[in-house]
């Protein structure tokens, strides 16, 4: 097994852990953080490919991660703001109770 494969497996596992959190946790903040973990997994991929992949020299992969970190921060801010907005009405942040809209 090459280091690249190992990196990719780590990122796959991280992706799945994040997904599990998003699917299983009641607390909306943890759902959001699970999704953040999935984004991190993708970032690990970029770096692994930047380090071992076919495109040596250009810093594309690294630059992409830089941007993705910034975007993830923006996303987290908006997401937490929305969670707080829902909390004001619902008085808790259990995702499964946010079911006013359905059908």
């Amino acid at each position: 097994m090459t280091p690249l494969h190992l990196c990719l497996l780590i990122s796959t596992a991280l992706f799945c852990i994040g997904l599990f959190g998003a699917l299983a946790r009641s607390n909306t903040i943890l759902v959001l953080l699970g999704i953040e973990l999935m984004l991190n997994a993708a970032n690990i991929n970029f770096i692994a490919f930047w380090r071992y992949g076919p495109s040596h020299g250009a810093a594309n992969g690294m630059i992409f991660v830089l941007f993705s970190i910034a975007v993830a921060a923006a996303e987290a801010a908006v997401g937490l703001a929305l969670i707080i907005a829902v909390y004001r009405h619902q008085k808790n942040i259990r995702l499964q109770e946010a079911t006013v809209l359905k059908g």
Binding site: V31, K102, G103
Partner: protein
């Protein structure tokens, strides 16, 4: 003076203009404007007819590019040939009379101007359909006709039955239109054009026809047969042919002038016109011996079934308009039969004569209904012969034309031409026999209708106080009655002017005398039977039992139930629907995720398409089956629990499934 083909668009444009004006204003003058517009269109149509008659074999076209589809421009156009000119003349003439009649009939309606706006829209769409030289333009107008008829049938929207009937009519015909659209797309795909005539490049010209009939599909059908049959689906829907006839009788919920316009002159005839228009395409496979079925054979048998079935059901109906509606179904079957056995001229001949006498009958029925305070049940009527002399006389002429009373009435000659063509057909004589049976039945039920309505004693309050209507309503009746007599002489075997105009290669064949005598005998038998059962011993009370019902109650019950078609649809489609729903539920219970249920719903989808066809009764059944399909929609909606975890899970599951699909089956 003639109307050049470049200006043909003026004919539909006039009513369209009035429809546009009518949409903006509520002034009652819209009605007059509509009548003048129709009269103007009639005048223009006469000019066009004069031009077309100068050389009947020419298809004058005017084509123009409309928009760019990526691979060459899409072109539309207008077409002027005797078929177009005769049809526009007939539609505008009958239309004008119906408009005038409506002036009296709808006088007290509070949406008077809107009614004329819709009527004008309908007429404009219908005329556009007739002058189109492009299957696409024809289809556009075809859909507009459907939309306008939806608006008109549902005009008295405060009656829930009218709203339901309008919806049913629109959707049922639309099912046929799906086939039409598909055929149209396929045709465009395989020929690259949708123009009928285009200087040798059109789809009805030799090059395209040869290539279409030269290709054979996997099932052995010629390509032209497949496309022709798909287009025929549209005609089946619009012309109320078996098995999509169920909408037509219910459409009687609209105001009576609408019934006259839709059921006599125009919309239902559109299907016949369509088949006649694409006749070269439909008959392109005629020379191929090896194909399993010819397109026209299907047309002939559908027509024969419809003709017989419509006449049978008409015998057991009691609503005056419903009898006429089933009679229309039956007569349209005749026309299709004529087309199928290879005589498009006979079909158009019957189409023209039928338009006049059926419009006459519907307007006469409208006159009766108007006078009898909206009483439509013939058992409740009676004795109107003396109270409404003009209506009675004209109605009787219409009835004799429809029954085919010999020599003096137009219906006789056109029906004769059809029977003659069916006799000559060498594939099968079954359609001929069906047609002959329908002749007896037609004479029979029309005699019953007239005897019950006009003879005997009034059997209800409405009939008691009936009196003749104003001249604005009777004058159109008289004019139509005159036409119902005279029109037949345009196409007698001794002077087949109409046939020669429509088909320059037409040769009059003589020697059908035996058949003519037979059919005269059958008409006499029908009339006599009807009079023996209903005329000799007149009904005295509305509740008295029908003599036929006494004789064969089971048969009559089935017929009165319209042969149980509606129940059949309800039962089969309903079963299918609940079975697939149960199956889907099973899957849902044991398999994770909502994704799998899509597949199970495939069956429900087939039910969903047929859903509109079926109904048990006008209100109850249609809604009930609609409900059952709404139920399958609810099944989906239940998946939408509102729980975000579920949504996220579906995303992940769908990802896994799609990845597996691509990895296991799709990577090339």
């Amino acid at each position: 003076m003639t109307l050049p083909v470049q200006l043909l668009w003026l004919i539909p444009a006039l009513p369209l203009l009035v429809a546009g004006i009518g949409a903006l204003t509520r002034h009652r003058g819209v009605a007059l404007a509509a009548i003048f517009a129709m009269a103007g269109s009639f005048a223009l149509s006469c000019l066009a007819l004069a031009g077309a008659l100068q050389d009947p074999s020419v298809h004058a076209t005017y084509n123009f590019a409309w928009f760019d589809l990526g691979h060459g421009a899409l072109r539309l156009g207008f077409l002027l040939d005797p078929l177009t000119a005769l049809m526009t003349t007939m539609v505008t003439f009958v239309g004008t009379l119906i408009f005038i009649f409506s002036l009296g009939y709808m006088k007290e309606d509070k949406n008077f101007s809107r009614f004329f706006c819709f009527l004008s829209l309908f007429a404009a769409a219908m005329l556009g359909l007739l002058v189109a030289n492009s299957l696409l333009l024809l289809f556009v107008c075809w859909e507009l006709v459907g939309l306008a008829s939806y608006l008109l049938i549902g005009f008295w929207f405060h009656k829930p039955s009218a709203a339901a009937a309008a919806k049913k009519a629109f959707i049922t015909t639309r099912i046929g239109d799906l086939g039409f659209l598909l055929g149209l797309l396929w045709l465009a795909d395989s020929t690259g054009s949708l123009l009928f005539y285009d200087g040798g490049q059109g789809v009805l010209e030799a090059t395209a026809l040869a290539s279409l009939s030269g290709q054979t599909l996997a099932c052995g059908l010629a390509l032209s047969t497949a496309i022709g049959l798909l287009i025929f689906c549209g005609a089946v829907g619009k012309s109320g042919q078996f098995p999509l006839h169920v909408w037509l009788p219910d459409a009687m919920e609209g105001p009576t002038p609408v019934s006259a316009l839709i059921h006599a002159a125009t919309m239902v005839a559109a299907g016949v016109f369509l088949v006649a228009r694409v006749y070269p395409l439909m008959s392109a496979d005629a020379l191929l011996a090896a194909v399993p079925v010819h397109a026209l054979t299907v047309v002939a048998f559908i027509g024969a079934i419809t003709a017989l079935m419509g006449a049978l059901i008409a015998c057991a109906q009691n609503d005056i308009k419903r009898i006429l509606a089933f009679s229309t179904v039956s007569q349209l079957g005749y026309m299709m039969l004529a087309l199928g056995v290879g005589s498009s001229t006979a079909a158009i001949f019957h189409l023209l004569t039928h338009a006049f006498f059926k419009a006459l009958l519907f307007l006469g029925a409208g006159s009766v209904i108007h006078a009898a305070h909206h009483e439509q049940d013939i058992r409740q009527l009676g004795g109107l012969r003396t109270k409404m002399k003009v209506t009675f006389a004209t109605f009787a002429i219409g009835m004799m034309a429809l029954s085919g009373v010999p020599f003096l009435f137009s219906g006789f000659w056109s029906k004769e031409a059809i029977l003659h063509a069916a006799h000559e057909w060498d594939v099968s004589h079954l359609p001929l026999y069906a047609g002959l049976c329908a002749v007896v039945l037609t004479a029979f039920y029309m005699t019953r209708l007239v005897a019950e309505t006009f003879f005997g004693k009034p059997r209800s309050h409405g009939a008691e106080h009936a009196h003749e209507n104003s001249a604005v309503m009777t004058a159109p009746l008289v004019i139509l009655a005159v036409c119902a007599v005279l029109l037949g002489f345009l196409g007698t075997p001794y002077w087949p002017w109409l046939q020669k105009t429509l088909d320059p290669h037409y040769e009059a064949t003589h020697g059908g005398l035996g058949l003519m005598l037979l059919s005269i005998g059958l008409v006499g038998a029908g009339l006599g039977l009807g009079w023996a059962l209903y005329g000799r011993k007149l009904r005295t009370t509305a509740a008295a039992r029908d003599p036929l019902d006494t004789a064969a109650p089971a048969v009559m019950a089935v017929l009165a139930d319209r042969l149980g078609f509606d129940e059949l649809y309800a039962a089969t489609v309903g079963r299918l629907n609940s079975a697939t729903a149960a199956f889907a539920d099973f899957l849902d219970r044991y398999v994770i995720g909502g994704l799998v249920t899509f597949l199970a719903q495939l069956g429900i989808f087939s039910g969903g398409v047929n859903r509109q066809v079926d109904e048990a009764n006008l209100n109850g059944g249609f809604d009930a089956v609609s409900e059952s399909v709404r139920g399958s929609g609810l099944f989906y909606s239940r998946k939408q629990t509102g729980e975000t975890h579920g949504y996220l899970r579906v995303v992940a599951v769908a990802f896994v499934l799609l990845a597996l699909v691509l990895a296991l089956g799709g990577v090339r």
